[in-house]
Every structure is written in C-alpha cells, then in structure tokens.
Amino acid sequence: MESNNHYNAIVIGGGPAGLTAGIYLSRARIRTLILSEGTIGGQMILTHEIANYPGVESVSGYQLSMIMRNQAKKFGCDIKANIQLDTLKLDGEVKEVILSDGARFTADAIILSPGGRSRTLGAPGEETLKGKGISYCATCDGDFFTDKEIMVVGGGNSALEEAVSLTKYASKVTVVHQFDHFQAFEYAIEEARSNPKISFMMETTITAFHGNEKLEGVEITDFKNGYKQNYPIDGVFIFIGYVANTEFLEGKVELNIWKEILVDTDMQTNIKGVFAAGDSIAKRYRQVTTAVADGTIAALAASKYIHELHKTIQHA
C-alpha cells in the first residue's frame, strides 16, 4: 500500500518506549510515525533528575526526552505530539488511525505505548481546586506551602519520600493512607515515622475537597467506622500511583483487570501486527530503562512482522 499517509509502523505514545521504538524502526529504514496524545517524553518529563540511566550520570527527564526525540527524528521518524485519537482500527492487515482533526493514517503494524498517568482520588472538588491547594508534584509546588499545614495522600515510596521532602516547607504534614500498613520500602517508612513534623491517619481517605478560590479543607472518611469528618487544611499532595492510559483500547486488545495490555515476550498483543511496550503493559517494574527495553523488543518484533508481511504480499 503506497500513500503519504501510509506508514510501515505507527507508534502510539511518545514516552521512552515509543521513542525507542521510533529510533529502532526508523534506523532500520522502516517508515514510522509516532503519535503522542501528550507532550513528547511521557512521564519521563515528570522526573527532575534521572541518575540511574546507564551511560548518563545525571540528566533531567526533559533533556533525555529531547535527546530521544532528536535521535528518532534524525533517523527520519515522523512525530506528531498533542494529538487526539478519534478512531483506531487494529484488525486486519492494514491498521487505521484517525485523529480528531480528521487526519487519517494507515500502517502495517502498530506499537501501542500510551504510558500511564498519575492516579487521582476522583473526590468532589479535586479538579476545580487543582493548582489551588491540590498538587501532584512536591518539587514544583512545595514552596507555596511554607509554614502551612498540608496532607499527603498515599502509602508508597513516592508518598512517604515526598512527605519528608515537604517538611522543608510545611509546618505540619499529615500522611493519609487507606490501609493499616504502608507499601513503601522500610527505609522510607522509617524516615517518615522519625520526622517530628509528620503524623499519620491510617485507614482513612479524603472523600471531598472544600474551598472556593483555594483549598480550605477536606472531608476525611475513616474506613474503620465509616465516620466522616471535616478538617481545615492548606494543601493536599496526592501520590497514589499510576493508571495505564488504555481506556481507548478496551475491546480492541486484550487487557488485564488493571486495564494493562497483555503481551508475550516479543511484546506482541493478541492482535496480529499489534505490539505494545512501556508502562501500559502488564509488568511489575516501571522504569525508563524497562520502557526503553520494551520499546526495543517491540520495534524488532514489529520489523520482523513487517518484513514477513511484505514478503508474503510480494509472493502472492
């Protein structure tokens, strides 16, 4: 199939997995398009400093994203960021993607790497008070809460490490966690527990945010007895993990109960010619390095698939 809008491979997602796939495919002279619903870099840009990416002593997530993007472009990969998907057809030999602006692209193979996003509580008031007392980034917004009382929601490493870092600014930090124990590593728990500015509300969660121009208080529900109580508070930081950006794939590829994409060791989904990589697949460890590895495997497997597909067509 020959057309300007036909690519050998379309990669959906512009994080480290998608960019790596783009680099490998384009370098192999496979005409490739990366479509990213967000900014190029995905969740990698959420990291101020990456100090454990082999070969690079220290780099910001933004810088590493730009390097990967430029590498992919250098090899001839087309990249479109901040697009909105409208239609995705994965069945059949020719895959089809239509964007909300009407642009239509087809491909021999698709690599899905839509990544994930920070989980929100979904409580009333959360969306309207975001940036007005509710934050998802301690390093960005911590200094707005100097000498103020805040809450941190979550019980993993991020929540406890950020609770400790926020004590540099806040006069008091209360960790609100839904379980009676933490999921964080022991060192993070110990550091938080030994900090005199930090207190804990276990087996509770925030069920509503109150305030008009800015956050003024929260409703806390106690899971032990179901009681709800309002507390005045200046700020809330939410660190309750990530969810896969796979809503648009429901009914199209096989997902597990957490809506993560199921793949085999070649990153092949249950649909022929459709591969997946990165944080949106079912796996245990989510790091830039693992996303890069997934993207590499998906690209190599997709290359092989495309090559065999073209051989079949030539022989037909």
């Binding site: 933004y62 975001k130 007005k132 007392g133 934050s135 998802y136 980034c137 707005f144 800015k214």
Partner: protein, 116 residues
Amino acid sequence: MLYTNLKHIETAADHQKFISENENVMICCGRMGPMCIPVYGIMEDIEDQYAHVKFADMEFDNPESHVIRNVPEVRGFMGIPFTMYYKNGKLVKATSSIQSKAQVTAILESEFAEAN
C-alpha cells in the same frame, strides 16, 4: 532559563510591551518542571494553528515575573505554571498548574475567537 522554543519574556517592561502591542496573548509563567513542560509543549504545537495569538513564556523565579505572580487574579494559585491570557493588554483569564491541550484550546477559542 526556560529551554523552550517559545518567545522568552525577561523583564516587566518586555511583558508590558508584549501584551500592549498584541491583541491576543498567552504567557506561561513557570519552571522547567513536570507541571510546566507539558503546557510549553502544547503552546509550541499550536502556535502555527493560532496565528492570531502571540505565545510566550516567563521564568517563575525571575524577580521580574512579579507582573504575573502578584496580580489579584492569581490570589489562591498554589501550583505552577501560572498561565495568563491577555486581550488588548488586559488579563481575561488565568489558570494554575498543568492544563491539557483541550483546556488550553477551549480558553483560546472562547477568549480569542476570531470574527468570521
């Protein structure tokens, strides 16, 4: 220093000149952080599409950005970036923290609608 491809506003005087010389202006005031970079990226992507709007950034920690940080409309803002929309030199809309492309374009469409 903001490492974006947007126009950088460095001083309060530049800010005043920029908003008074252009009818429709969007300025994102932030840092090179995770809540700000996506907004800069959106602005870079839509710059050509919204040719009747002028886009720029300003560094949040630059003392000169008091022209954004201290206006009454951002009282209660506790998350960067502060994104400001000006029409004929007047502030018509301001948002706090990360925004999606849909949220940004909805404001551009409503505040800076082009006459048919």
